[in-house]
Symmetry: C2
Subunit: 412 residues, 2 copies
Amino acid sequence: MGGDAPKSPFAPKSFPALPAIDGIRIAAAAAGVKYKGRNDVFLAELAPGTQVAGVLTKSKTCSSAVDWCRTVLDKGKARGIIVNSGNSNAFTGKIGEKGTKHMVQAAADALGCKPKQVLVASTGVIGVPLPGDRISAVMPTLIEALGPDNWNDSANAIMTTDTFPKLATATAEIDGKQVKIAGIAKGSGMIAPDMATMLSFVFTDANVPSAILQKILKDGADRSFNSITVDGDTSTSDTLILAATGKAGNKPPSSPSDKRLKGFVAALDAVLTDLATQVVKDGEGASKFITIDVTGAANKKSARRIGLAVANSPLVKTAIAGEDANWGRVVMAVGKSGEPADRDKLSIAMGGVTIANKGEGVLDYDEAPVAEHLKGTEVHIEIDLGLGKGAARVWTCDLTHGYIAINADYRS
Amino acid sequence: MGGDAPKSPFAPKSFPALPAIDGIRIAAAAAGVKYKGRNDVFLAELAPGTQVAGVLTKSKTCSSAVDWCRTVLDKGKARGIIVNSGNSNAFTGKIGEKGTKHMVQAAADALGCKPKQVLVASTGVIGVPLPGDRISAVMPTLIEALGPDNWNDSANAIMTTDTFPKLATATAEIDGKQVKIAGIAKGSGMIAPDMATMLSFVFTDANVPSAILQKILKDGADRSFNSITVDGDTSTSDTLILAATGKAGNKPPSSPSDKRLKGFVAALDAVLTDLATQVVKDGEGASKFITIDVTGAANKKSARRIGLAVANSPLVKTAIAGEDANWGRVVMAVGKSGEPADRDKLSIAMGGVTIANKGEGVLDYDEAPVAEHLKGTEVHIEIDLGLGKGAARVWTCDLTHGYIAINADYRS
């Protein structure tokens, strides 16, 4: 299915050059899980002592790979990550569990570690048994190819309906030591369980204990991957992993709020947000990238929920696709969020122009700049609740004929 | 906007003949609120002593008409209902409140009752002040036209993006006395705040005190209007009113669970379900009518939430539009509902054929009858959670290019 849809208008002209991360070697290979003539397996070797953290789907029907990751993450350390595209191995029952174990065992054997030290993710068609032997068959090729610089190959190998690979990098200082962060991601629908799960793998040479890493990653995910939506659907396989080798040699921080971590947290946020917004920009059928800023909400959580209610509203998304400044649909979406809101305190701006203020439409607002703004590919909606200090930013894309074409006209 | 979209393939060839309800007189008139050359105001005169109940939108940004209805319903009695289409009078601030009061006062003066005895609803464009004088100007015409049989005119007058009027009727016995029920509804998106709110007005000659009426109506709404969805968006103006004149002369029931009410509750359910499914069948862009039966859930509430999560999933709705038996998307939607579910106990059937069973796809299921079923216009999805005894039925429609065309390609 991947490759059938036209390339996103937001596909970058060039890709960032990701740095080598001391302690990380990566590789991609073509196992023919489903796709022909392209890489579909990604292997990462993590140096001994690498601390890991993860944020996994909350779906009650998650895949066996997600179940496996949970037990590895509980230990806080790992030696490898193995990922395939083309088959999500989700809803495959006992056979699926066997497939996951087979894949993990093959990677562990190749890397010379224990299966419980290997994180795993699968993305692609649902309900079809994973051809695990094809993945184990390419292990020698992967081990041979392991190197510090194979970022592009790796980002391409994990793609499904994505129309471009997603890479991001940043640096920071912890206690005077420079640390590097490099990450890749895939995702195109927020989810399409037979093809478009969101996966992201982020690597750093920072020395951060896993418990602290976990807290930082969870908070960062809330501000990035948990603040985006394409269609409001949630994958059975969503997986975000952060691996920290410690090779930068910084003194480990004492807590998640340790001041020396401030720069690292900001750099990690930058990488996660960069990757997350790339996923939205590759959203199925997206023609507009929409940033929604919510302020004045009862609290931060409420602000994010209101932002996501607006971002998920089919009527708001189709209005933006139609370049229609239909603030009435924004009001409706705020109202249905179930969060505290007062109709007579609510204000809405598009492209910086206030078009509804304190419960009433601004009848004589200047329409020309708003119309011009909506004709562009990046749309900004600001919602002020006028209630408290809660603020959040979320991102989404518009809902177009392209989404219907990808998800209804094509058959799986 | 109404009339621009092609007529729903589910538009009925003929309409039921609704009976006169003793104590109810109705009329429609053309006030030119927004539409030209069609009726856009509906007036109902309720005999003295008529008991009323209502279910109103839970939106936090509801219209002033909804606020007004709340205070009338608190008293349990009313003498009139005044409704306009073409302007929802929502998000119009203090001017909006004035518009509502003007409309209610005009109807009260015409009917010879107090404003607090008049229920009101407005549907149409949002954020534009209501031209209340146009509505008061047609009051003499409405009073003149009041009669027991104007059901078709009335159902047409409240339409916005609807492509057909919605009418339903049933009879029952209470304590040996025959009682009649007649209802009309409008709605085409679950909501499009500038045009497609859901409104329904149901009338009966049964003698039922308002407190009991309220409980029966709330329960009935949960099984009907609260069990349908087109796009998951919620109107700022959704209004369901039940008016009972008492003219049938039955002895009033003593409680909502009074056994003598059993037939009446079933007949009311039939009318509400008939009207609610007509709204789905007129859903924007609908080409398939989808019935989702959830069984084996932890409880009834959980079953309904799971059903609605599936019904609201853009990926499920586009799969059905594409006639694709993509049960993986159903699994995904069950998983994201947040309700208790066990991947390994879940079973899914389409068109009566089990295609996923106890956590695994049925690899050799008979595809031909399922493909044939999906080619039809009425699709049946059954989901068994295998956990408890909770069951619910919900209805939705597919998500097609037609929905995008109505909501993005057309401008308001």
